[in-house]
Assembly symmetry: C2
Homo-oligomer: 205 residues x 2
DNA sequence: TTGAAAAATGAACAACGTTCATTTACTTTG
DNA sequence: CAAAGTAAATGAACGTTGTTCATTTTTCAA
């Protein structure tokens, strides 16, 4: 059935078009400006059409969140060239921080906002594949560091989670504007400076 | 003028009553259920009356956020008994994590949600006094640790921020449900286990 | 008692996510 | 080719939300 195939393609195309409009609005204006109506308007379709392709707004935000992880994975590609696991670990954090700084709304969606997780709950999905894959990159690197003699006396998984928390925490505090107004001397460099302290530490342990 | 004083007191009383209703709703049902209407209903006043005492919803949420910091400060009081700064630093993180675990919505409001910061922006307030005071507790403790020979080669402020980020990051990931579904072996203990790794580290550096 | 000032009200507004009866477009069939 | 049937698209309508403000009610000094 050629027509059925074409129909299926058109359906996929429209779904992609909706996501494209949603992504542009999201990146340009942020989450709260990304309404179903504004998405529909931006691609010259009605609100009802959006709901023919997405169960609800959480489904759209989950798709955007998945796109964000694709982008982060792409950013991680430069790490393939770094053979020394310790150097790769250091670079990993740096790339992560750069991603968060360059895409604060997307970062929020990926790691803070409830919408993507609510979508997973709604479809009875236990696993968070995007997060799992990303954590695995870090965890693997930590294990490789340990294999060549670093971090003795530590457990790889909690240590990896600690490192994730450390870097996530900095990004989170910055994005939610908790760094300014706290009497920090150079608030604009505090994340970089704090990360530098972390780098000193992992060379010592 | 006795009547004027009484009027002022009644005004303050009603403001406190609104906050009390808001707090109960916030703690019991979470942020999104804490609507102006539900607050007004819970104390048998109309929506308009709420707006006579608070500029907008952000003002209410900012007041609740301040109450949260009062509670956190109270929780910190047990630390006064801990004389050794290193032990106090370790206990500080523990109390912080316990607070976040016991009051996830309040923690979110204090350290993640935009509302309280938007309120400060709206009244042209540059400083975030609640956050500043809390960070100062940590920063002071870190400086005291350094004064007795720990953390040599580190800068107190970025290091303190790094520690804050580390602990905040763990709480944030847990509250936003980013720990489960990531294939971590004991997700229910990951925060405690990761904090244990941190404790090992600060003893080494 | 009265009238001005203060306090409280709740209907109304715009914007949101969401639904669904209706209309439009397309495909298949006789 | 026309008619019937199916799929796609529509947008008005619903219930909530934060917010406003003309109106009503209450308070209190004169």
């Amino acid at each position: 059935m050629g027509t059925a195939d074409r129909k299926a393609k058109e359906k996929d195309d429209l779904k992609a078009l909706i996501l494209k409009g949603a992504k542009k609005l999201f990146v340009d204006k942020g989450v709260e400006q990304t309404t179903i109506r504004s998405i529909a308007d931006s691609i010259d379709y009605s609100v009802g059409t959006v709901y023919l392709h997405f169960k609800d707004k959480n489904a759209i935000l989950h798709s955007l969140h998945t796109q964000g992880f694709s982008q982060l994975s792409a950013d991680f590609k430069v790490l393939y060239n770094v053979n020394d696991p310790m150097e790769r670990l250091k670079a990993l954090g740096k790339v992560y921080i750069q991603f968060a700084g360059a895409n604060p709304d997307m970062y929020d969606l990926m790691f803070t906002l409830k919408a993507p997780m609510e979508f997973l709950d709604a479809i009875n999905e236990e696993e968070w594949n995007e997060g799992k894959a990303t954590f695995e990159v870090l965890h693997t690197t930590v294990k490789q560091c340990m294999a060549i003699g670093h971090f003795t006396g530590h457990k790889s998984e909690p240590l990896a989670f600690m490192i994730w928390s450390l870097v996530h925490g900095m990004c989170s505090l910055e994005i939610s504007k908790r760094c300014t107004g706290v009497n920090i001397k150079n608030p604009e460099h505090i994340v970089a400076n704090a990360y530098a302290e972390f780098l000193k530490i992992i060379d010592k342990i």
